[in-house]
């Protein structure tokens, strides 16, 4: 009579620890309702200090000019655009977890999607600051938007990928923020019903929009979530494709390659998942959510890192092969210079961190060992930052004309601005963990209910 197969019995539990629906609410809301611990406070002060450093240095740079950076005529882009692409890339993992895993009906996404979406929004904020501050006159940044004006009207150049970026990043930010907020409305209603302070109750009431849990509302809500996921998926692919076009539509050796759009998208997912892994390992420990963000979830994140890391590695090999096979001497030199020239140290950091390190995740022992995962996630982020640095700086510093060749060295202002962007990111993320539900309560309950039903069927067999 048993319709059960072995696999359905041995499927790993999504929510461990014999949870009930009310325990889920309690576990997730507990940390928001208690005063913050010393751990959160210490991390917050650290993040805020880094942010402060960044704000001071960016203010100085805007006041004095781009000359305080190490850029020159040859290397016109370095840390600024490296950081921009780095942060946009990190944002993509959040959308993938929320949107793409939803379309693939992967239930394990429910305990990590909220934090991942928050990560996306903060990463896109960090990313967006760089194109603005790298302008010579950031106070005229609004000129990137096409609005009727008294200068003609002078319109923007719709044929430029730099302008496509404006629309892509803006749309990505708005849709991600909307997706994140809509997902939180039922949880904000949960917080509203539990809130004791007047201010908290008022804010939760306003932002939960009078949510009552009606099934008719839920029916529309579920469809809305699928629609947003269906929109966000091509959006995320298009955004990083457009970012890659900043390079691919140029003529510089090492940039002018058709592999860039898929290469960048996969690289973004890869680096984003690295950051997700770092954040999740810390979050689950600090918030006591090991029963929701289980080892199984972390292992799945590692599997995605392994897959995308392998594709990125394959892209490196393809690029190198085509540079040789194509016979273009400038392209060939670009790659020889990357591996053996003055920035070879950066290139080999990139290759070891992106090609070799993730391959260790083939071994289950590594995939299920949390300290190992943590180190790998940090190295993935380092490697991907260096990938963008290598692509941008090595291709610029030695292109077609040897008399134009130059070296680039970052100044303290640029390094401090990068640190500041990490400060901004972690400040926002820590505030999120402190005041908002870091796990999608209502989505975990669906998974828990289904899990309990399965277990009861197994018990009654």
């Amino acid at each position: 009579m048993s319709r059960l197969t072995v696999s359905s019995i041995s499927r790993p539990l999504q929510v461990t620890g014999d949870k009930t629906l009310s325990l889920v609410t309690e576990d997730i809301c507990r940390n928001i309702e208690r005063p913050s611990g010393w751990g959160w406070k210490a991390l917050f002060i650290l993040a805020l200090s880094a942010l402060g450093l960044g704000v001071v240095l960016v203010g100085y740079q805007i006041k004095v000019g781009i000359g305080v950076w190490g850029l020159n005529k040859t290397v016109g882009w370095a840390f600024d655009i490296t950081n921009f692409v780095f942060w946009v890339g990190i944002g993509h993992a959040g959308t993938l977890i929320s949107a793409i895993l939803l379309l693939f009906r992967q239930k394990w996404r429910t305990s990590i999607n909220r934090a991942a979406e928050a990560m996306t929004i903060f990463a896109v904020i960090c990313a967006g600051t760089f194109p603005v501050i790298h302008m010579g006159r950031p106070w005229l940044a609004f000129w990137v938007f096409p609005y009727p004006n008294l200068r003609g009207s002078l319109w923007v150049n719709f044929r430029s990928p730099l302008l496509w970026d404006v629309f892509a990043i803006s749309t990505y930010f708005i849709i991600s923020a909307v997706f994140w907020y809509v997902g939180m409305i039922p949880d904000l209603a949960t917080m509203r019903d539990r809130a004791t302070g007047r201010v908290k109750k008022f804010l939760c009431s306003i932002f939960s929009l009078g949510w009552d849990g009606s099934s008719r509302t839920w029916a529309h809500y579920e469809i809305l979530t699928v629609i947003l996921a269906g929109l966000a998926t091509p959006l995320v692919v298009s955004v990083h494709t457009i970012v890659s076009m900043d390079f691919a539509t140029s003529v510089i050796p090492g940039w002018h390659a058709t592999i860039f759009p898929p290469y960048f998208v996969v690289g973004a997912v890869f680096s984003g998942f690295g950051m997700v892994l770092t954040l999740l390992i810390i979050t689950r420990k600090v918030m006591g959510w090991e029963n929701y963000i289980t080892l199984h979830h972390l292992e799945n994140v590692c599997r995605v890192i392994l897959l995308t890391g392998s594709i990125v590695g394959f892209a490196y090999i393809t690029e190198f092969f085509i540079a040789w096979y194509g016979g273009n001497e400038y392209e060939m030199y670009a790659f020889i210079n990357r591996a053996t020239g003055p920035y070879a140290w950066a290139y080999w950091i990139m290759v070891s961190c992106n090609l070799f390190v993730p391959q260790m995740l083939w071994f289950k022992k590594v995939r299920t060992n949390i300290p190992a995962m943590f180190v790998i996630s940090i190295l993935v982020n380092v490697g991907m930052w260096f990938e963008r640095f290598v692509i941008i700086v090595t291709s610029l510093h030695r292109d077609y004309l040897p008399s134009s060749w130059a070296m680039y060295k970052p100044t303290f202002v640029e390094v401090g601005t990068l640190i500041g962007s990490f400060g901004l990111f972690f400040t926002c993320f820590l505030l999120f963990l402190r005041f908002l539900p870091g796990v999608a309560i209502h989505e975990v309950k669906i998974v828990l209910a289904a899990q309990q039903k399965r277990e009861e069927v197994i018990r009654n067999v």
């Binding site: 430029s160 302008l163 009606s214 839920w218 029916a219 809305l224 947003l228």
Partner: protein, 174 residues
């Protein structure tokens, strides 16, 4: 003119679903079911009509696409054509990235706005019917007692037999 409701409070979604099916089998109209999460199978059990939000997305997306393409075309060929690197004035291919982004933006935002509008979700909105724990671990099955033909005792019996933790009556201003 007050509204009268009969409410069955459940702690288990399976019992609730059974109750819904039983009640509908006895031709009771379910006013609504309130739950802390979207119950799998409730749409069929309550015979809810499929949401028409996807149509909003389609229309809004088409509007966004048209607006984006038309605007870029107009600025580049009619209002102030500029020779940028010899590229054609009507660079339709180059207009596609921005057009795609605007399509997604319009589609997404209009669908969310439509959702808020049809379910009357605004800052400052208040739930019409509130039940303790419905955002936590409790489910509420609500029947409206529209007229004298509503057989309250039979409904109460069905709810009780289905496993309701509590059955209560409510009188609410419309």
């Amino acid at each position: 003119m007050f509204k009268r409701f009969l409410v069955g409070i459940f702690k288990d979604e399976n019992l609730l679903l059974k109750a819904v099916r039983e009640l509908r089998g006895e031709s009771y109209a379910i006013y609504d079911v309130f739950s802390p999460y979207a119950i799998h199978g409730i749409d069929e059990a309550m015979d809810l009509r499929r949401s028409r939000l996807p149509w909003v997305t389609l229309v809004a997306g088409c509007v966004g696409l048209s607006l984006a393409l038309l605007f870029q075309f107009w600025t580049s060929t009619v209002d102030w054509p500029i020779n940028v690197g010899g590229k054609p004035d009507n660079s339709t291919l180059a207009f596609l990235p921005v057009a795609f982004e605007i399509t997604v933006l319009f589609g997404g935002l209009c669908t969310v706005a439509a959702f808020f509008l049809i379910r009357r979700l605004f800052p400052g909105s208040r739930p019409y019917l509130r039940f303790d724990g419905v955002a936590d671990d409790t489910f509420a099955l609500v029947l409206e007692q529209k007229d004298a033909s509503f057989e309250e005792s039979k409904a109460r019996e069905i709810l009780r037999k289905a496993g309701a933790e509590r059955i209560e009556s409510r009188v609410v201003k419309p």
